[in-house]
């Protein structure tokens, strides 16, 4: 029987896009500037309908491209507004130079992002190539397994961004979550508003009594200090993420952290992954446990800042693990999440046998069987029956 966790919560059936738009309505930002793109179109479409219907007092700026969407959002944010946007894939790519500016200016912009493959070939389906490419832009990245998480993450993102003075993107897997209707618990408007609070920027360009310059040139003598500040801001954001998660749990009852551990306490083989595939992995783990395979999962929620030491500590006990990446870095080396995980382990002096799989590009199916095969191989690696492959492996792609 479906039950609400928060006593005043309401159970609804909504898609990922619908609940992200709902969260935006409840947060009620001062400005939203956006340009529609599949599969994120509905987020801003529904939100602009809220604006048109007078259900939210936000100033909605319809722009002619994502570059302008991000530019207008940056402009609104420096002016002192709580500003949000939403996009996906090529749209995020077109925002590229502005992403770095938003981070460098330390603007707490929140973006609803729907993960979709990048062209070419053109493809509208879910993979994480778009946001993985933006992983070094100085944005906090929070990934969602399902619609409930995307809703909860949007609400938390506003507080995290404003406390950390860092732009924050919340993502869902394109179509798999963005267009999947699921059971979601939503909270009353006033409780969400009370949680996110009012945005009071320390400095705002529209505060003409305290004028200042923003975005000036800084050469060899000052640029590095400001970029160090940005990197340090990201390191400090870790504690902020945890603080906001704690506050969220105290208020609404759902628990969040850097990542979710599923049956890791006694796990001998583990998968580390991000997004909706983590849910499918949980389903596989339950089946494997019945067969005696001690399988576990680490589902990364906060990828930037990366919880390196924490993950290293939690993975230290397994005999073999695999990282499932829904993006390839085409580097001749491994995929992004794997690189982060193994560098965390190496820096902590931990050496565990591991594998890296790239899966699901362009929305390619990842089934329970595929995930079970990974665990089966890990089990053999753990028992020294087979050696781990020293290169990226691919799931469900026709190679020969």
């Amino acid at each position: 029987m479906v039950k609400a966790i928060y006593p005043k919560g309401k159970i609804v059936a909504k898609t990922g896009n619908e609940v992200m738009a709902e969260a935006m309505r409840q947060i009620s930002p001062d400005v939203v500037a956006a340009y529609p793109i599949t599969p994120a179109t509905e987020i801003v479409q529904i939100f602009s309908q809220f604006v048109a219907d007078g259900k939210v007092p936000t100033e909605y700026v319809a722009v002619e491209s994502e570059h302008s969407a991000m530019s207008a959002t940056i402009g609104a944010s420096v002016a002192g507004a709580r500003a949000m946007t939403g996009t996906s894939s090529q749209g995020l790519a077109l925002m590229w130079e502005m992403l770095y500016i938003a981070a460098g200016l330390r603007l707490p912009i929140v973006m609803a992002e729907v993960n979709r493959a990048l062209s070419a070939p053109i493809n509208i389906h879910g993979d994480q190539s778009d946001t993985m490419g933006a992983r070094d832009a100085g944005w906090i990245q929070i990934y969602s397994e399902n619609s409930q998480e995307s809703y909860d993450n949007m609400i938390q993102a506003v507080k995290i961004a404003e406390k950390a003075k860092l732009p924050t993107m919340v993502t869902t897997d394109g179509f798999i979550i963005s267009h999947c209707m699921e059971v979601v618990e939503v909270y009353p408007d006033e409780d969400v508003k009370a949680f996110v609070g009012e945005y009071k920027p320390e400095r705002a360009l529209l505060d003409y009594k305290k004028p200042f310059t923003l975005g000036a040139i800084e050469l060899q003598d000052y640029y590095f200090e400001h970029r160090w500040q940005l990197a340090e801001g990201m390191r400090n954001a870790k504690q902020i993420v945890l603080d906001v998660a704690k506050e969220f749990k105290n208020k609404f009852g759902r628990e969040y952290g850097f990542y979710e551990k599923y049956k890791m306490d006694d796990a001998e083989v583990a998968i580390v992954t991000i997004g909706s595939a983590a849910g499918t992995t949980k389903f596989v783990i339950d089946e494997l446990r019945e067969k005696g395979i001690k399988a576990g999962l680490i589902k990364i929620r906060v990828y930037r800042p990366f919880p390196a030491d924490e993950i290293a500590k939690d993975l230290a006990k397994v005999k073999a693990f695999a990282v499932l990446d829904r993006a390839d870095s085409c580097s001749g080396n491994f995929a992004p999440v794997y690189l982060d995980v193994v560098s965390a382990l190496f820096a902590n002096g931990i050496n565990i046998k591991s594998e890296n799989y790239v899966y699901g590009l362009g929305g390619r199916e990842i089934s329970t069987e595929h995930i079970a095969e990974v665990y089966t191989k890990l089990d053999k690696i753990a028992k020294n029956q087979v050696a781990p492959s020293k290169t990226v492996e691919y799931i469900n792609v026709r190679i020969k």
């Binding site: 200016l105 003075k165 310059t213 975005g215 200090e225 160090w228 500040q229 801001g233």
Partner: protein
């Protein structure tokens, strides 16, 4: 010798590259000058062309007794000696001439 400017550390700098307004006033660029504009008060017709063109706001102006804005001199703290004022001063007037800076 000029004193070495103290550079702020990352801990001292405001986040996001905020610069307070009006800091250019503290940065005296007059020392960059190798040619010096000299203003002839008697020739000047106060057309303010030099004031419009000066890229460093180094032409000083003020209201006279009739509340008309007039040129009152050159701000040598900020004048870099570019000579635009001398060139733009109307040909028939030529109230500004550039002279070698003597230091």
């Amino acid at each position: 010798m000029k004193k070495e400017e103290k550079k702020l550390t990352a801990a001292e700098l405001p986040a996001g590259g905020i610069l307070e307004a009006g800091t250019a006033q503290n940065f005296k660029t007059g020392s960059w000058r190798s040619l010096r504009p000299v203003w002839n008060k008697d020739k000047c017709i106060h057309c303010l062309t030099c004031w419009i063109y000066c890229p460093d706001s180094a032409i000083k102006i003020a209201p006279d007794e009739k509340k008309t804005t007039v040129v009152t001199g050159i701000d040598y703290d900020f004048c870099k000696g570019c000579g635009i004022c001398a060139r733009e001063c109307p040909d028939k007037i030529k109230a500004i001439t550039m002279e070698e800076e003597k230091k």
